[in-house]
């Protein structure tokens, strides 16, 4: 099946400005941060919770670590979680690499802002992807830190916590839709989701790596040469 990623039919043709696209993302990240601050503080303490947000800047990983700490996991389990959950960053970085012409130091700085959300924006906006990371990333970082601080200061956020569980799939569905270039991409996305769900249900221990391997598996069949 042919991939049609031309400018006229591609995802970049009809997308809103970066600021407009970024606003709902920043709001969602703020909510995640608030929930993280609330959930993590009892286990890690307020200073370490905020420091984790400042140094790690990865919601999925930080929530996982908070859960592992709550379950009494040791350092080896935490490091293993960090490795497995971060594998997707390697893949997303590789996806963006051809769209970046900036020199290595600028790429190293932009890497700090490589998130699922900023990658989605970089894939759908014109110009050097590193520039999009540099423009969108700081907004996401501030939203994450502000959310964490609000969660630490605000005590219980049960309503937000319940809604935040729903925001994860919604955000990823939105990013998948943004990234779809054509019918082939949509078919691959549905197939990858089905494979991932099947793997997660059949082998729960493999669930952390299932999305990466499913995405690679469905992307392999070519036909676009």
């Amino acid at each position: 099946m042919r991939e049609n990623g031309g400018a006229a039919s591609g995802p970049r043709a009809s997308h809103p400005s970066l600021a407009v696209a970024l606003a709902p993302i920043a709001a969602a990240i703020f909510i995640f941060g608030a929930v993280y601050g609330t959930v993590s503080a009892p286990e890690m303490g307020a200073p370490m919770t905020f420091l984790a947000s400042a140094l790690v800047f990865s919601g999925a990983l930080q929530f996982t670590i908070a859960g592992l700490l709550l379950a009494g996991a040791g350092p080896a389990a935490l490091l293993a979680a960090a490795v497995t959950l971060n594998v997707r960053h390697v893949l997303l970085g590789a996806v963006l690499r051809p769209r970046i012409k900036a020199p290595a130091p600028a790429r190293a700085g932009a890497a700090w802002f490589l998130l699922d959300e900023t990658v989605g924006l970089a894939l759908t906006h014109e110009g050097d992807a590193a520039r999009t990371l540099w423009r969108a990333g700081p907004v996401c970082y501030v939203a994450w830190l502000a959310g964490t601080a609000a969660g630490l200061a605000g005590g219980s956020v049960d309503v937000l916590q319940s809604a935040a569980v729903a925001v994860f799939p919604v955000l990823f569905i939105g990013l998948a839709a943004l990234s779809c270039r054509n019918r082939s991409g949509a078919v691959r996305a549905v197939a990858a989701a089905a494979v991932t769900a099947a793997v997660a249900l059949a082998w729960p221990d493999a669930r952390a790596l299932a999305p990466v391997f499913a995405a690679i598996a469905v992307a392999l069949p070519g036909g676009d040469s």
Partner: protein, 94 residues
């Protein structure tokens, strides 16, 4: 110390491809271009399955359905609005 190790692993995972990978040849680039949508869809799927083998609560599934309905618009804002509507519907009905 553990926190620094986790932060180091996370940054390294973000930087390794961006900094050290050369710009890929066209064939590899075409393959890489096919990855984001399936990867994000897979991450959506995994977030709908709770450990060990349970589906997410019904209102979360409805939120995902709302986002899916809006997905042809290819807008994050539309997906969030659809998700919010689905979630609200679930809260009202369930």
């Amino acid at each position: 110390m553990l926190l620094l190790a986790v932060a180091g692993i996370t940054y390294a995972s973000r930087a390794v491809s961006l900094v050290f990978m050369p710009s890929p040849p066209p064939r590899l680039e075409r393959f890489l271009n096919r990855i984001p949508a399936p990867l994000f869809a897979s991450l959506a799927a995994i977030s709908l399955i709770e450990e060990p083998r349970h589906l997410a609560p019904p209102e979360v599934l409805l939120a995902a359905a709302g986002a899916l309905i809006m997905s042809p618009r290819r807008s994050l804002l539309a997906a969030l609005v659809g998700g919010l509507a689905g979630y609200a519907l679930g809260e009202i009905l369930l």
